[in-house]
Symmetry: C2
Subunit: 313 residues, 2 copies
Amino acid sequence: MVQEETLNRVRNAANQLGYRVNGMARALKTRRSMSIGMLVPDITNPFFPPVVRGAEAALAEAGFCLLLSSTDNDADKARSQLDAMIEARVDGLLLGMVRRRDPAVDRLQRSVIPAVLFNRTVDDDGISSVVPDDALGVRLAVSHLYELGHRRIGLVVGPLFTSNGERRLRAFRREARRLALDVRVVEATAFDETAGLRASEQIIAEFAGMTAVVAGNDLLALGVIDAATAAGLSCPRDLSVVGFNDMPLAGRLNPPLTTVNVPELSLGRTAAATLLDVIANPDRPPDQIVVPVTLVERGSTAAPADKDLRASP
Amino acid sequence: MVQEETLNRVRNAANQLGYRVNGMARALKTRRSMSIGMLVPDITNPFFPPVVRGAEAALAEAGFCLLLSSTDNDADKARSQLDAMIEARVDGLLLGMVRRRDPAVDRLQRSVIPAVLFNRTVDDDGISSVVPDDALGVRLAVSHLYELGHRRIGLVVGPLFTSNGERRLRAFRREARRLALDVRVVEATAFDETAGLRASEQIIAEFAGMTAVVAGNDLLALGVIDAATAAGLSCPRDLSVVGFNDMPLAGRLNPPLTTVNVPELSLGRTAAATLLDVIANPDRPPDQIVVPVTLVERGSTAAPADKDLRASP
């Protein structure tokens, strides 16, 4: 696109001369579709619908509509959906499906469409993002298990090509060292129940004496519980499990899931508000907003049973 | 729009002369965005994400992207989102938020954008729809309760301005007459847990001796269980509850929910396939595809306890 080149040169020159873009004035002049595109990795992950709802509410207040796509964790799908969004002349993009290194994000940064990442971010910090406090969440989960008496703890981490996966792993390793825990880590191939089941079959079989698992998200936690049940272990009697997200219905499950609460509505709202700010102030430097998390203690965690009485895995 | 008038006149004349539109040839000539718009009433209702996923899969196979909006059951929001979809030049629309009489649908029928309704339909049958077998679902739910021994049964029905609400109510009344049941009906103001709680507080307080409730969907069923718990009744010991949809996680709840399974992925797939057919064959007469449903018996239903031993509501 020749226009981009020109635009950048003009913008640089204007910056050097001390001009700043007045977003609202520009908005009145430029033709807008008054719609924002949002890409989530998997709409059937119950974590995302309330994030979408939060973003939609904030955008509606500003007069914008939301167009949503679910990429199904597929890079090709993400690319064609991004193209459809751009074709639809969206005024901005909320991206929740990014990988730590993501060509789609690189491409966007060279275009003129404002974008904000949410839930996941990229390694390169040239783009604004709104993410949960991954490190705090894992610290809270591990501390909770430690205080219950657990010392041999597994981590079923999400894919390490995502920032959530990598950051939660790093925090877990740090806590394990600090508390001198005996740990094992297994990487799930996706953030869903099936991947959680597969990954934890392995860790349950190989890590004798493991009494607790921290899961990369709530769906992975359900997979861990399924694998435990299949191995004749009951949750929380034989295996405590902590999730991440506190997805809707997590408290109504059997057992009710102990998990790290990410305030989904607020995460979505904040991402949308940040995007609106980026649209209004194109020269705003990129930043990362970290949304605080809390631990919700429910029925899937308990003190470890006496090891001699436990069914061996 | 003058063009619509002209188009209709041309189409009618062509029809009379025996011409039929060749959809694929037309597709090659007309400029397409290769995207389809989908409107759901509430993306945080766990029923919808797998419907979306099913539609998306079928559309992706045909090279179309899906742009999704959640109307939050708000007619104004629906209107502005429809406008955004049309502005985005979608090639067709999948509408899941319609009311039995819906100005948005009337407006669409006068336009040239192909549309298919899913899950809900309108009273006027001028537009194709793909809906669950509401009547069969209710029949299966009531028969199940009858066979367990229940004779005093409540219905917490969804809003009667929706086809789901109205059709499920009609089927319930019919079954109640056929089986000479003692019944009460209360209409919830929405298809969510809060509305279910409110509506069933009333029926639990007023309908003495009620041993079972059929709920208009699974979220309403959760509200019923909450209201029962608050009234000191335990599900299923004191009150059996049947949901509708079999949303994801329904089988993992406490108690696991007995519910009418609507095959969500397949409903979404069928709706998308029908829309693609309408796009390819604009003169295809509108029809209604009814998707079969089944009853999934789980832990929220049981034989009624001995009345003398039951805690009175």
